[in-house]
């Protein structure tokens, strides 16, 4: 599938119309019962009407950055009038009464929202199997998981059901599914994209991210989405331009603490060979993040702690599903019993980490760890421009393969540090798969805070360079 720039130039040359583009998209969407990437797809007539309107606007001379471009939204972001289930029974019938800021910006940029994508319940998971409405399948191998929690968005992009998709990334939920589906998945610096309208999982870690097949589309979408929002006090202005520019990256760090023998052999091979490839053009140096290994532990106390509080609002009193009972206390318990097992596990873990007698040892210590990570990355970026890691320790796993929740948590091993340290990071598919039918392997680049544009420009350079080989 073409990137947005190519679509626009074809539209300029009248080779295609947005209506054609939408027809093709609808054709793909009609196969979604196999993948279950979407929890909700907008009515075809409505979508065609939107595409027609985009064509008219174009013909009238309007040139919006994403005019007529189909986009999928993870079902934990609010779109006025559309359901927002978060993959949970508790919000099964909830319809959003307002637009998330990111959604509003996409609409203003002319994008056409095709539907809401599947996810692990409240974005808690790494396989999309924790959705109350059934798992999503990996378009590259339907017996495999597309990763998670933004598995639906990744599958939608990988299968061509939308050109772009929004995901959310709290501990890797955009990058890991991108790695599993061979797409680009970008988690910006914390605060770069407003979280207003993104249903909170862990507020200090959550970021909306972009999934696409082409790095230039990631840049374009980011330029639409970035910016301080008066509705989100943690958002801030971080520079982003619609086009890439020369990145001037010279030194790339590889993390000493990642023992490559711990990696799956395919991942290890891809990682080693890519380091090798990189070192032909860039200076590759070993760097140390001494607290790297403990990062996952910090993540698995901070994220559940915040989640236990964020998910307290689901009491059935004002919206969502309400389980009837004789009194409030019974009603709220019955209602909250609709949460799936993983959500309950994290709420309980988080309540424990914050409870009297344990908070100092768990929640507070986890934040110490977080501060160490911030400090250590700071030191590292005095020396290198980017840090490279594998995105995941393994290639895509089979649906149902992982039973122990802890094993699944380990899928976030390499992605959580960027969330904890507020840094921008992206998954780039390993470009040199020998057999094109092999499952994809993901490579992660992490950049200094606020250098999102440099990171994306660098990825674009790498990708073009690799394609030319």
């Amino acid at each position: 599938m073409d990137d947005v720039k190519t679509i626009f130039s074809k539209r300029e040359a009248n080779e295609i119309t947005f209506t054609h583009l939408m027809e093709e998209t609808l054709k793909e969407l009609s196969h979604d019962d196999e993948l279950h990437a979407f929890l909700f797809i907008r009515n075809a007539d409505e979508l065609m009407a939107d595409a027609k309107a985009a064509d008219n606007a174009w013909d009238e001379g309007q040139r919006k950055p994403l005019l007529g471009i189909p986009i999928a939204i993870k079902d934990n972001m609010c779109v006025t009038g559309l359901p927002c289930t978060c993959g949970s029974k508790i919000l099964e019938h909830f319809v959003a009464p307002y637009d998330a800021t990111a959604v509003k910006k996409l609409k203003d940029a002319g994008a056409i929202i095709v539907g809401k994508t599947n996810l692990d319940e409240f974005a808690m998971g790494s396989s999309s199997e924790n959705s109350a409405f059934g798992p999503t399948r990996n378009p590259l191998d339907k017996t495999c998981s597309p990763g998670g929690s933004s598995g639906g968005s990744a599958a939608a992009v990988a299968s061509g059901m939308s050109l772009l998709a929004l995901g959310s990334d709290t501990g890797g939920s955009v990058r890991q599914p991108a790695a599993f589906t061979g797409t680009f998945g970008f988690k910006p610096s914390y605060g770069a994209i407003s979280r207003y309208g993104l249903v909170a999982f862990a507020s200090s870690l959550d970021q909306i991210g972009v999934l696409a097949k082409h790095p230039e589309d990631v840049i374009l979408a980011s330029s639409v989405l970035f910016g301080q929002d008066p509705m989100d006090s943690t958002s801030r202005d971080i520079p982003m331009a619609p086009q890439p520019e020369a990145s001037n990256v010279k030194r790339v760090g590889i993390v000493k603490e990642i023992d490559s023998n711990m990696l799956d052999k395919d991942v290890k091979h891809a990682y080693d060979s890519f380091i090798n490839y990189l070192s032909r053009t860039y200076e590759v140096v070993e760097i140390s993040i001494p607290h790297w290994e403990e990062a996952l532990a910090a993540y698995y106390f901070i994220a559940p702690a915040e989640a236990s509080s964020n998910l307290s609002r689901y009491d059935g009193v004002r919206y969502g599903t309400t389980m009837e009972a004789e009194n409030y206390s019974e009603s709220i318990r019955k209602t909250r019993n609709l949460f799936g097992e993983e959500v309950k596990r994290r709420i309980l873990l988080g309540s424990f980490a914050l409870s009297a007698g344990y908070k100092d040892a768990l929640y507070e210590k986890a934040n110490y760890l977080r501060q160490w990570l911030v400090f250590e990355f700071d030191q590292v970026f005095q020396n290198v421009d980017m840090v490279l890691t594998p995105t995941t320790p393994t290639p895509p796993f089979k649906l149902g393969e992982i039973k122990d929740p802890l094993d699944l948590y380990k899928a976030d091993l390499f992605t959580t540090p960027a969330n904890l340290a507020y840094l921008p990071a992206i998954n780039m598919p390993y470009p040199f798969q020998e057999n094109k039918k092999d499952l994809p392997i993901g490579l992660q680049f992490i950049a200094p805070f606020g250098e999102d544009h440099k990171l994306l420009s660098f990825i674009n350079e790498l990708w073009q360079g690799a394609e030319e080989l």
């Binding site: 959003a96 207003y196 249903v199 008066p230 006090s233 943690t234 307290s312 004002r318």
Partner: protein
């Protein structure tokens, strides 16, 4: 045994900002339930708080007024608990670093009351418990109005520093007045704009007693009554050798007694942690400058009132009622005689207002001005002045009324002529007087006063009447 009363207060004050603490919903027009709401203050998924700048300015103003330590960097925290009136399942409040610490409220009695901390937070929804038999008891349903959800609050906490129920009550009264003079809250307890919880215990021979908490006291009268009741209850129990148990109590205004209230959660563990949706609140010079907009002072008012009335009790009454004080103050500025003012503003008008069910705010200042001017110029008698005050309280222009009803003293009024008319028209009474019945003079005087509409001095008239009767 030696008993000593000990109490500490926890006071919630609604700030009178135009919008809520963390969203732009208006704080006015709250009478139609659930209309001043938005996704933020209803705790909808995906919503985020944004701090109201004016609430911060008001907190700074209060901190400055009460000589508190103002933290240049403070944080908001989440206090987690479940209750239907709490839409997010947590309240955004301030934890270990509040915006203000260690302030002092100087009482008009000269005593300084230390305040431990004052912090910003959001109000919960208003809940009404309804049952078939009426409200509250045996509630079958809870009804909620979220208009109040998210209204800015400042919580004011003292250590157990109060030595008597009267002192605690005085503190609340003068705090209330302080907030009103500053202009940051209307602080009306009956409207829930100021709400008071009290911790109370009784020391026995210098040994600390068991502390109980009394929740939701909604008038200063209740505070005094509840504290007195609890003090007596504790003292009686200790005298009998019984213990007091730690518990939360409610005060029943009808019976004047406290009763046990079951608590929300058996084991309160609020799991406070920094609100991740709000970076630290860092104060700037600009905010401090803007806080100067709120600058009225109760204590200044009290001292002025004292200089006018020369009586502490009168001065306190006057200063505690800001509207009354402002009226007095503006008339005093015009140089009216203090005796006239004290009579009008401290005695007559309060009575008249309560008779006609009006408030200080309803009184037209220019009307009072006219009456005082007429009095000062000797154009009306005290009786007419009071009559005109009634008219003014009813909203009638006293000047116009006086003219229409010819109530003004006329230089050229022929009082002798009027008296001789009255004597001529009442020959029976004159006869009785001459036969030695002195009582009829009252009747005759009344007739004269009626004809003159009270515009003549009664004592002088009486003397003249007697003189003419004896002629």
């Amino acid at each position: 045994m030696n008993f000593k009363f000990v109490a500490g207060l926890e006071i919630h004050v609604q700030l009178n900002t135009k919008t809520k603490m963390f969203c732009s919903c208006p704080t006015e027009g709250l009478d139609v339930p659930n209309t001043r709401v938005c996704p933020v203050c209803l705790g909808y998924p995906g919503t985020l708080p944004v701090i109201n700048r004016e609430a911060v300015i008001m907190a700074i103003a209060l901190g400055k007024a009460l000589n508190g330590h103002i933290n240049m960097i403070s944080r908001f925290h989440r206090k987690n608990y479940f209750y239907p009136d709490l839409p997010k399942g947590y309240q955004i409040t301030q934890g270990d670093v509040p915006i203000i610490e260690n302030a002092v409220l100087p009482l008009s009695t000269g005593k300084n009351i230390p305040i431990k901390r004052m912090h910003l937070e959001e109000d919960a929804a208003k809940s009404v418990h309804v049952s078939s038999s009426g409200r509250l008891a045996g509630a079958q349903e809870t009804l909620l109005d979220f208009n109040r959800s998210g209204v800015p609050l400042i919580e004011i906490v003292t250590d157990p520093v109060f030595e008597s129920p009267e002192e605690a009550t005085l503190f609340v009264e003068e705090l209330q007045a302080t907030l009103r003079y500053l202009g940051i809250s209307n602080a009306q307890m009956e409207l829930g704009q100021l709400r008071c919880d009290v911790n109370v215990s009784v020391e026995v021979d210098g040994k600390e007693g068991t502390r109980v908490e009394i929740k939701n006291l909604n008038s200063t009268r209740s505070i005094r009554q509840a504290l007195t009741y609890e003090y007596n209850r504790h003292v009686e129990a200790y005298k009998r050798g019984e213990n007091i148990i730690t518990e939360t109590l409610a005060f029943d205004e009808k019976t004047g007694k406290t009763r046990t209230m079951r608590t929300k959660q058996s084991s309160a563990d609020y799991r406070y942690f920094p609100e991740p949706d709000l970076p630290p609140l860092i104060l700037t010079e600009e905010l401090f400058e803007e806080a100067n907009r709120y600058n009225g002072s109760f204590l200044d008012a009290y001292h002025n009132a004292l200089s006018w009335t020369n009586k502490e009790a009168d001065a306190r009454t006057l200063a505690l009622n800001k509207d009354q004080y402002m009226l007095y103050s503006s008339l005093a500025e015009k140089g009216f005689d203090k005796k006239l003012l004290n009579r009008m503003i401290l005695i007559d008008l309060p009575n008249i207002l309560s008779e006609v069910a009006k408030t200080w705010g309803d009184v037209d200042k220019t009307f009072l001005n006219s009456i005082l001017q007429l009095q000062q110029d000797g154009k009306i008698t005290p009786a007419v002045a009071k009559d005109l005050l009634w008219q003014a309280a009813r909203g009638n222009d006293p000047m116009k009324y006086a003219e229409e009803h010819e109530l003004l003293k006329h230089e050229n009024i022929d009082i002798k002529q009027i008296i001789s008319d009255v004597l001529q028209q009442n020959p029976d009474a004159v006869e009785k007087y001459k036969k030695g019945n002195a009582n009829v003079i009252g009747f005759l005087l009344g007739q004269v006063m009626k004809k003159t509409k009270g515009t003549v001095d009664p004592n002088q008239t009486r003397a003249l009447l007697e003189q003419m009767l004896n002629e």
